[in-house]
């Protein structure tokens, strides 16, 4: 195997760029998604010699790099959660969604969810969102974040506990909008 060929990276891009872009878009919004994806692949290319050839999939490796790239935009991500929690309006989703999102998750639940996501530690948030938004398995998360499997389980357990607490044990898909709730930060 050779990792010295740009063509392999081009094919890696063909296979993973769309999904990675979608994941980053959900976390940071359209204005940053293009840049984060580009930088992720370029860094991966620079570090290709460090790629563990025994690993069967490149996806966790790429997302692990993306997590680091996204860390530079942590404040932007947290600002969006805070805005959603306080106003009920999601600045990240504004470019593609008007009221559509409210049909999926009621506004009050979204606000509480955003507040809970913002309150999570970065480590816990990465685990939760890789599983929920990128459909990663525990093993893939462990590979992407370079942590033991047990750590993934404990972080996810902690994150989910906070989510449940924020949602109050109520099925939020059937919650009606509550203006008072949307003002909670």
């Amino acid at each position: 195997m050779s990792l010295s060929e740009p063509e392999w990276f081009a094919r890696l891009y063909d296979r993973h760029a769309a999904d990675l872009h979608h994941y980053v878009l959900r976390r940071l919004g359209p204005s940053l998604a293009d840049d984060v994806v580009s930088e992720t692949f370029l860094i991966a290319f620079r570090l290709r010699a460090r790629y563990d050839t025994a690993r069967p999939q490149a996806r966790p490796w790429l997302y692990g790099i993306a997590v680091n790239v996204m860390a530079k935009h942590r404040r932007s991500e947290l600002r969006a959660y805070r805005a959603l929690a306080r106003t009920g309006v999601d600045p990240v989703a504004q470019s593609w969604s008007d009221a559509a999102d409210t049909r999926v998750v009621a506004a009050a639940a979204r606000s509480r969810l955003a507040a809970a996501l913002r309150a999570l530690s970065d480590r816990d948030r990465h685990v939760l969102l890789l599983i929920a938004w990128a459909d990663f398995s525990y093993e893939e998360v462990a590979t992407a974040l370079d942590v033991p499997l047990g750590t993934v389980r404990s972080r996810l357990h902690r994150a989910r506990r906070r989510m449940r607490a924020a949602l109050g044990g109520v099925d939020p898909t059937f919650m009606t909008e509550d203006p008072e709730e949307t003002s909670r930060g």
Partner: protein, 359 residues
């Protein structure tokens, strides 16, 4: 997922947040791919990274990533692009297996490749490809890159009933257009996809019969094409109709480029027919398509005519259609096309998974 899915769980609620985020614009992905190729090429050329270091190392520690240089070498990549592009052409023929990158160099194959073996492989691949027949309300999505004086993305959708088509405009907005209505002779194959599919389905599978049918049937001929005779001094001596076999070669390359939904049987027959045309030559080196992807190429020329050289470019591993290219000897003019993805989608604006490199 190791976690069971239940609509009322906290995890499923998290999943629903921003779940309606759109897929990446294919044109932007294509542009991103091109920028990545440029940057990688420039970095390789400058030796910024140790490209030769392919030794397996301990598992990658992702925390080191952020320590990498964030600088984007735009100037470097612009100045060195041409040189590295040339290097990419001679980079070799690749073979990939699922999940793992692998490289197979030319010459490692058991027997030498010929026009016949390469086009037979292309025919087999086309035959195994499922027919892309859209329903009346569905759309055929086609993404590609077309280069003439400059390169541009070509992203289009064709409605299954032939009544509408759409394209991605310069600002990445999807513009939907109505077709003018049924025409006796569509000016393009894609004017009426259902009809084109029906006409293609009627073509014979036997290569020689197919070539004859293509020569006779005006539906598949580019009536605007003409053969230009050029004297030694470069002046145009005259124009005339395109004679066989250039006529059929142009027709087949036109179908492969412009028709996104070809019956698999006919798709295979087109490649087998090309193998029967005289003066087809397998290039001994990879040739790039408009996306910069090196592929196996078959060159088609017309004896005694200083006309265009046409190239059919195929994936070096699967021999699937990648694109085509035309060069005019003695002229800097050149045109190229690369297809990056096709598929059936529910509405215009949606993209399908790239198909040019199925892994």
């Amino acid at each position: 997922m190791a976690e069971p899915t239940d609509v009322a769980t906290d995890l499923s609620v998290v999943r629903m947040l921003r779940a309606d985020a759109p897929s990446a614009d294919p044109a932007r992905l294509v542009a991103g791919r091109r920028a990545l190729m440029d940057a990688m090429a420039a970095e390789t050329a400058t030796g910024k990274v140790s490209a030769a270091d392919t030794t397996a190392r301990p598992p990658f520690r992702h925390r080191r990533c952020s320590q990498g240089s964030p600088a984007t070498p735009r100037l470097v990549r612009r100045t060195l692009l041409a040189a590295v592009t040339a290097a990419a052409v001679t980079a070799g023929v690749f073979a990939l297996r699922p999940g793992l990158p692998a490289v197979t160099r030319p010459g490692s194959t058991a027997r030498p490749q010929t026009v016949a073996t390469v086009l037979a492989a292309a025919a087999l691949t086309a035959e195994q490809h499922a027919a892309q027949v859209p329903g009346p309300d569905q759309w055929v999505y086609v993404a590609g890159v077309a280069c003439e004086a400059t390169c541009s993305d070509r992203v289009t959708w064709y409605r299954g009933d032939g009544r509408q088509w759409a394209f991605s405009g310069p600002d990445h907005r999807v513009v939907v257009r109505d077709e003018d209505g049924p025409k006796k002779t569509p000016s393009r194959y894609t004017d009426d996809l259902p009809r084109t599919y029906r006409e293609l389905s009627r073509l014979p599978s036997e290569p020689h019969a197919l070539l004859e049918a293509l020569a006779r049937d005006p539906f598949f001929q580019d009536t605007s094409a003409s053969m230009v005779r050029i004297g030694k001094n470069g002046l145009i001596l005259g124009r005339g109709p395109v004679p066989p076999p250039a006529l059929q070669v142009a027709a087949i390359l036109g179908i492969l480029e412009h028709v996104p939904a070809v019956p698999p049987r006919v798709g295979a027959a087109l490649f087998r027919a090309l193998a029967q045309t005289p003066n087809a030559r397998l290039l001994g080196r990879p040739i790039k398509d408009a996306m910069g992807r090196p592929g196996v190429a078959v060159e088609f020329t017309t004896p005694g005519e200083p006309a265009a050289r046409q190239y059919l470019i195929m994936d070096p591993r699967t021999h699937a259609y990648l694109g085509s290219r035309q060069d005019w000897p003695g002229s800097p003019a050149s045109s190229a096309y690369a297809r990056t993805a096709t598929g059936i989608v529910s509405h215009p604006g949606r993209q399908a998974t790239p198909t040019a490199h199925p892994h």
